[in-house]
Symmetry: C2
Subunit: 156 residues, 2 copies
C-alpha cells in the first residue's frame, strides 16, 4: 500500500508541538491513533463526569488527576486528522472535517479550552466548580461530534 | 450482558492513583482502553526511537516532549488488566497475565522504570543519553510482549 508521509498538524493548522511530533506513515495508523486518544479522553473525562452527576462518590484528588490527564490527552487526536486520513480503516470521521477545516479547528480548540477550564476547576477541589466545567466540556464534545462524527463507522 | 464492576489496579496490585481511577464497567471497555493506551505509547515512543536510530532528524525539544508524554501514558494501561478482562473483545493478552500476576507486575514496573529513565535522558537533550535509554525501554517492551502478548488476537 502507498505510504503517506505528512505532518497532519500542518495540514489542519492546529499548531501544537506534541501533535506535530506524532507523524503517521499510513492512514490507518493515524485513524487508530486518533481513535485511541479519543477512547482515553472519554474514559478519564467520564470518570469526572460520573462524579459531577453523583453516579460515583466525589473524590477531589482523583478528579484533579483525571482532569490533568485529560488536559494532556485532549491535545493529541487532532493532529491525526491530516489530509489522506479520510479513509484507510473503519472511521466515524465525517468528510466535513476536511471540507470545513476552519470550523473543525475551531471546534477542537473550543474543546481544548473547556478542558483547560475543567483542569483549573478540578485543582480547586470544588465539586460545584467541577460540575460547571464538566458541562462546558460535555457541550464541546457533543457539538463537535454532532458536526463531524458519524454514528456509524465506514466499512473500509 | 452482565456488567462487571471492579477496580483493576487493586486486583493486579499495581498501586497508582491514575490507573486506579480508571474503572471499567465491561470487560470490552477495559480491553479497548488498554489497547488504546498501548497504541499511544507505541506511537510516541516510536517517534523517539526513530530519532535514536537515525531514521528521522534528531530534535531535542520534540524528543523531550514525547518522552514526557510516554512517561505519563505508561502508567495507564496496566490498571485495565483486571480479573474478568481476559476475554470480552479481541485481545492479544495471554492467560499468563492472570496466572503470573507478580511476574506481570514486575514486567510493567520495569517498563515504567525504563521510561522514567528515558524521560530524564531526554530532558538533557543528549542524543547519546537518549539512545541508551531507548534501548532500555525497547528491551522492557519486548520482554513483556514475549511473555504476555500473543502474536494473534483471540477472535472473541
Amino acid at each position: 500500500m502507498k505510504k503517506l508521509h505528512f505532518v497532519a498538524a500542518a495540514v489542519i493548522g492546529l499548531a501544537s508541538a506534541l501533535p506535530a511530533a506524532a507523524q503517521f506513515q499510513k492512514p490507518e495508523d493515524a485513524i487508530k491513533y486518533r481513535q485511541s486518544a479519543m477512547t482515553l479522553i472519554g474514559a478519564h473525562f467520564g470518570r469526572i463526569a460520573a462524579m459531577a452527576q453523583g453516579k460515583i462518590p466525589f473524590d477531589a484528588k482523583t478528579a484533579a488527576e483525571n482532569a490533568a490527564l485529560v488536559d494532556t490527552l485532549v491535545h493529541l487526536p487532532f493532529a491525526a486528522f491530516g489530509e489522506g486520513t479520510e479513509r484507510g480503516a473503519p472511521t466515524q470521521a465525517k468528510p466535513e472535517i476536511w471540507k470545513e477545516p476552519a470550523k473543525f479547528k475551531s471546534a477542537a480548540e473550543k474543546l481544548q479550552d473547556e478542558v483547560g477550564k475543567l483542569n483549573v476547576a478540578a485543582k480547586t477541589g470544588s465539586l460545584d466548580a467541577i460540575k460547571g466545567a464538566v458541562g462546558g466540556v460535555g457541550k464541546a464534545c457533543k457539538a463537535c461530534h454532532d458536526d463531524f462524527r458519524s454514528k456509524e463507522f465506514t466499512s473500509n
